[in-house]
């Protein structure tokens, strides 16, 4: 078993640093399990949303098809999908033991994620002005809970990746932090997976009516 | 071993004793004395499943007793080491297949009865006035600790006491106006939840033989925790022959604004009109919308068998209720809705309410 504090060179860097120590393997597997649980969590939120979609107290409240706009959703989708690719690049450089490039790609990922969040906040704000509020109808509660939980995951992911970047900026890659980077990137992909369903089930299907 | 048998004997004696003491429960309340088609079907299912379960228990118990009697460690075999058997495919197949077969025997009637009990198609057939063609429909509305029964095709509303004809399917639309409750008449059939967000439909049939045995009165219960007085959310079912039922509906329809008889009752009427009528209607054809009907309809109050669903129907108890309903039914929604009544006012109101009767 390799030691976590060992200093590495390109040559000695293992080919799967995210699973090179027992701690790393545990973290890797534990995180996947966690994602399995998260799937159920989001499944429940999706289910709730579908059951309460367009359920409003009276006809003065806007419905899904009155609200969602294609441009905004499309832009948000592109941002988040792209950030998934950039985080893949980061992991590519991690495997090649290229710390600087990894950090750079992570930074891009974080920026894309932040832009996505910005759009989302703008969107929520816009809806609230149209009378679609968290507290105005069951539909509103369900919508903000599902999309908001996802947004919360994005925000948490951003903070996580940022703090990993800052914490390890000086010391570079080793077998103690490599699995952490890797797991954070898995989390980021998972957020993207959830978004694929959100833009399909919530937005696109909402627009169809 | 002897100790064990002893214990089992003790328990079964207790159980049998208890059963003997109480039989199958009270016939107006027990699911074990079914008095209607639905309850009978359910009783059949209970018997069938019990038989299967007893069979299972016997098999297990026989093996069990044999094993623990036969293979005990004794001084003699203290150090012997039994053969380490891995398993036995034949046995394992047997105890997989037999339960599957038993379950099939149970599953078929289960599915079939489940569909039968859910068949409410007659209540969907309406004539051109929007009335149900030839089925009696009752809308049951559950409220915090009281029940309302509306006969939509007859234009009658009653509360607390449900009136039904015997030997005929009665169809129910059930719902709740506040929290979830559940509508249950154990001797006549299983329960159906009254949900706040939608109506449930089901049917019951009250047979005349069973009704006779209980002097035409069954107990109904709320079966879903709904707050402090959940335990007191009882109602009564009065069964009538078809003719009597027709008579009853006629009487109810003809029930005029009640005329108070006597000075005391007249006084009571005044108090009633001042303090009670905002919530309680005193005619059977209350035309107000559901939302406005926030308390039990009192049109035939004098004919009821219970005060507030639980107390013996007499003047003393009525006074007790009117004086402080909270004492009788904690958490009820009448408490605090009217001013305190002094002794005289209580007498007056009691006299008035007790006079709210169908003309006989």
């Amino acid at each position: 078993m390799a030691s976590v504090q060992e200093k590495f060179t390109e040559m000695t860097w293992p080919s799967s640093p995210e699973k090179a120590t027992l701690e790393a393997k545990n973290k890797f597997l534990g995180f996947w399990f966690f994602l399995g649980g998260e799937t159920v969590l989001f499944g429940s939120l999706f289910a709730t949303y579908l059951a309460l979609k367009d359920k409003v107290p009276d006809s003065s409240h806007p419905l899904a098809k009155d609200l969602y706009s294609m441009d905004l959703t499309f832009a948000a989708t592109m941002l988040l999908l792209t950030s998934s690719l950039t985080s893949v690049y980061a992991m590519y450089h991690m495997k090649n033991f290229n710390f600087q490039r990894m950090q750079a790609w992570l930074l891009i990922t974080v920026l894309l994620g932040a832009a996505f969040l910005g759009l989302e906040i703008y969107e929520f704000n816009h809806y609230v002005h149209e009378g679609h509020k968290f507290t105005s109808s069951a539909f509103g509660s369900a919508f903000y809970s599902l999309v908001g939980f996802h947004g919360g995951h994005v925000a948490f992911g951003l903070l996580w990746i940022l703090s990993l970047m800052v914490r390890n900026a000086k010391r570079g890659l080793d077998l103690y932090n490599a699995p952490k980077f890797y797991v954070a990137s898995l989390y980021w992909h998972f957020i993207d997976v959830v978004w694929v369903f959100i833009f399909t089930v919530v937005y696109l299907m909402g627009m169809v009516g | 071993m002897r100790k064990r048998l002893h214990k089992w004997r003790l328990i079964s004696i207790f159980a049998i004793l208890a059963l003997a003491l109480s039989g199958c429960g009270e016939p107006f309340l027990s699911t074990l004395t079914p008095a209607g088609e639905v309850a009978k079907k359910q009783y059949d299912l209970m018997i069938l499943s019990t038989v299967i379960m007893v069979l299972v228990i016997i098999v297990v118990t026989v093996i069990f007793i044999y094993v623990i009697a036969r293979f005990r460690r004794t001084k003699k075999n203290e150090n012997s080491i039994p053969r380490q058997v891995e398993g036995n495919h034949k046995l394992e197949i047997i105890w997989t297949v037999i339960p599957i077969l038993l379950l099939l025997v149970l599953a078929v009637p289960t599915v079939s009865y489940t569909f039968q009990l859910a068949d409410v198609s007659p209540m969907k057939q309406k004539d051109k006035d929007g009335k149900t063609k030839d089925a009696l429909v009752v809308n049951v509305r559950a409220n915090l600790y009281w029940w309302e029964f509306e006969y939509p095709d007859l234009g009658i509303i009653t509360s607390q006491d449900l009136f039904v004809p015997t030997d005929k399917k009665v169809y129910f639309n059930v719902k709740s106006s506040d929290v979830k409750h559940s509508f249950w008449i154990p001797a006549v059939g299983g329960k159906t939840d009254t949900n706040p967000e939608g109506e449930n439909q089901f049917w019951l049939e009250f047979d005349s033989k069973g009704s006779e045995k209980v002097q035409n009165q069954f107990y109904g219960k709320c079966a879903e925790l709904c707050g402090p007085s959940h335990a007191y959310m009882d109602f009564k079912v009065q069964t009538l022959s078809q003719d009597d039922f027709n008579q009853w509906t006629q009487d109810m329809k003809n029930l005029k604004k009640p005329a108070a008889v006597g000075d005391l009752a007249k006084e009571g009427e005044e108090i009633y009109n001042k303090s009670c009528i905002g919530c309680h209607a005193n005619t059977a054809n209350d035309a107000r919308p559901e939302k406005a009907r926030t308390a039990p309809n009192l049109a035939n109050f004098g004919d009821r068998t219970r005060i507030a669903g639980i107390l013996e129907h007499n003047e003393e108890n009525l006074r007790k209720w009117l004086q402080d309903p909270e004492k009788v039914k904690p958490g009820n929604l009448m408490t605090g809705k009217y001013q305190k009544l002094d002794d005289h006012e209580l007498d007056a109101l009691t006299a008035y309410l007790m006079g709210l009767k169908l003309e006989q």
Binding site: N26, G36, G37, V40, L41, T48, L52, K55, P57, F134, S136, S137, S141, A142, S145 | K7, A15, A18, S22, E26, L29, S30, T31, K41, Q42, L45, S49, M53, V56, I57, V60, F71, N77, I81, V85, E86, G87, N88, E92, W95, P99, I100, L106, T110, F115, V179, S182, W184, P186, T192, N195, E197, N200, K221, C222, L225, G227, H230, I310, G331
Partner: protein, 622 residues
């Protein structure tokens, strides 16, 4: 390492337990906390039975009864049964698979403290305006009406302890997958480990549904959302589904480890290999799998329609098959065996008829059309106490006696143990058998009292008498525990003499690193195999080397405590209290700062060097 702590006095011992990341000590913590909550829940049960002993009783008021009833169910399920199961999982599973530690020692400790503070928070409600009173199921329509903070305590308390449980579950999954000793293949794992594995998986998939349900309820009650407000388009059935999507797997979360404990006990005291091991594993997995497809059998009367009812009815019945496989395998484990009736074995033996009786009434409940009669009546109360008390509680009592030596190094007194057993068993049947009939005679559950002349008096009185038998039994158990610890007669590795799995190959209690050298596992029941070849210890799979151990940490306590504080802020926020928001932020701050500390401060653990072992004695052998 207990000697280490003892030398330093009481304060040091406390600190040691507050900061421990050792799974064996965490097991003891779970045992103590879960045991405490069991007493609380049991006391509540006794209050219930006193109130119901006679009609029209006024021992407690209507509102208070509902609080006691709710807290009894909630406490027993979440704060007693599950933690006690975690106690044995922590005490035994790493040892059974030949691991030095669990996969995430820190998270393991965090899981415990989250559970603990969640439980304490929930019980604070007693002193702060009233406990939750909407039943352990807290159906949304009723909880939306609740005017006290009771339900909010339920929501936040369960949320906190639920996270702890989820963390614990993930920890055990990874431990079992990644940390097995050389040779310990999946199909050589003891059945308790297997059932812990499946249970952990159920936790992983079931708890998120509860988490979401609790969130929705919290949003509605504390932040003005409308999920369950029918007037605003909401729907309360959503809660029922979410609760039972969690709730049904939950009952298998409870019973599977119980099955596991009994499997160990049957094999040990029959001195025989578990009959049909592979079908036992298969049945365990199948029960876990089917457990996710049947939740709506709690909702037959809701009005889902005959199609849904029929599907869920048949799916539910299917569970009888794998459970039956287990029952018969246990019987045939004893068949031809050499059975010794120790206290744990008595519990195991008594479990079979008790649980079968409860299981078959489960199948009766599954007959949807007939369940319209059983549902929400005492028949259901009888069913689930037969499976829970006759299954889970008997297993916990059995496990307490069985694993006591491994956890504490002493043997509980057998005579007192047997007295406890008989009193408890008789009391149990006395209490709950009659309840079947009460239910069939029309007695609804969750009633705070009942009127006379409905045919229920005798039954209820008998039932209440039975409960007191159980109470006395529990008190005798407590006496037994105290006596045993005072006498402190130490035992060796394998005090039962017939131990089969790895935990019995090392000292009782084991050293904090468990195995000096990882054992080589050569088959099912590895220790038995070695014993049969005349050896007294396991063949090592590795040379003596340095052992890596995790550092203790106080952060799990602070992280959990922060949430505990924050929960008060969230709860009183709706009352418009000025201090509520600051408290919320301070609490979250404590938690977040602790988490940040954890993540920026590298924690590489420490090593025990192999030289240190050389002069250490090997511990007594049985």
């Amino acid at each position: 390492m207990s000697t280490y702590a003892h030398k330093k006095g009481f304060g040091a011992t406390i600190w040691d337990y507050l900061t421990t990341v050792d799974h064996k000590k965490i097991g003891i913590l779970y045992l103590m906390a879960g045991g405490f909550f069991f007493l609380v829940g049991g006391l509540e049960a006794l209050f219930i039975r006193v109130q119901l002993a006679v009609p029209n009783n006024d021992f407690v008021s209507a509102g208070l009864y509902n609080e006691i009833l709710t807290m009894h169910g909630t406490t027993m399920i979440f704060l007693a049964a599950m933690p006690l199961i975690f106690a044995f999982m922590n005490a035994a599973v790493p040892l059974q698979i030949g691991a030095r530690d669990v996969a995430f020692p820190f998270l393991n400790s965090l899981g415990f403290w989250l559970f603990f503070f969640g439980g304490v928070f929930l019980n604070c409600s007693w002193f702060l305006g009233g406990a939750p009173d909407a039943g352990w199921t807290s159906y949304a329509s009723l909880t939306m009406e609740a005017h006290t903070h009771g339900v909010d305590f339920y929501i936040l308390g369960l949320q906190i302890s639920g996270i702890g449980t989820l963390i614990g579950g993930i920890n055990f999954l990874v431990t079992i997958v990644n940390m097995r000793a050389p040779g310990m293949t999946y199909m050589r794992m003891p059945l308790f480990t297997w059932s812990s594995f499946v249970t952990s998986a159920l936790i992983l998939f079931a708890f998120p549904a509860l988490t979401v349900g609790l969130f929705l309820l919290m949003f509605d009650r504390l932040f003005g959302a409308n999920f369950f407000d029918v007037a605003a388009g909401g729907n309360t059935i959503i809660w029922e589904h979410l609760f039972w999507i969690f709730g049904h797997p939950e009952v298998y979360i409870l019973i599977l480890p119980a099955f596991g404990i009994f499997s160990e006990i049957f094999a040990t005291f029959s001195r025989k290999r578990l009959f049909g091991y592979s079908s036992m594993v298969f049945a365990t997995v199948l029960i876990g799998f089917l457990g996710f497809m049947v939740w709506a059998h709690h909702m037959f009367t809701v009005g889902m329609g005959p199609i849904a009812n029929a599907i869920f009815a048949v799916a539910t019945m299917a569970i009888a098959v794998p459970t039956g496989i287990k029952i018969f395998n246990w019987l045939f484990t004893m068949w031809g065996g050499n059975i010794k009736f120790t206290t744990p074995m008595l519990y195991a033996v008594a479990f079979i008829p008790s649980f079968v009786a409860g299981g078959v009434t489960g199948i009766m409940n599954a007959v949807a059309a007939a369940d319209y009669q059983y549902h929400d009546s005492y028949f259901v109360v009888a069913h689930f106490h037969y499976v829970i008390v006759g299954g889970v509680v008997l297993a916990l009592l059995a496990g307490t006696h069985y694993y006591w030596p491994k956890m504490f190094g002493t043997l509980l007194n057998e005579t007192l143990g047997k007295i406890t057993f008989w009193l408890f068993l008789i009391g149990f049947h006395l209490t709950f058998f009659i309840q079947h009939f009460l239910g069939l005679m029309g007695m609804p559950r969750r009633v705070f009292t009942y009127l006379p002349n409905q045919g229920w008096e005798t039954g209820n009185l008998i039932s209440s008498i039975g409960a007191f038998f159980m109470g006395i039994a529990v008190i005798i158990l407590l006496i037994n525990v105290v006596m045993t610890q005072v006498k402190n007669v130490r035992v060796g590795n394998d005090p039962w003499g017939d131990g089969r799995s790895l935990e019995w190959a090392i000292p009782s209690p084991p050293p904090f690193y468990n195995f000096k050298q990882l054992p080589l596992v050569r088959g099912l029941d590895p220790f038995w195999i070695e014993k049969m070849e005349g050896k007294t210890e396991m063949t090592p799979a590795e040379p003596l080397g340095d052992i890596h151990m995790p550092n203790p940490s106080f952060l799990p306590v602070t992280i959990s405590f922060g949430l505990f504080v924050a929960a008060f802020g969230a709860l009183y926020h709706v009352d418009g209290k000025d201090w509520a928001l600051p408290v919320l932020f301070v609490g979250m701050g404590i938690t977040l700062i602790s988490m940040l500390l954890r993540s920026v401060k590298d924690d590489h653990g420490f090593h025990i060097h192999k030289e240190d072992f050389e002069n250490e004695d090997k511990g007594g052998r049985a």
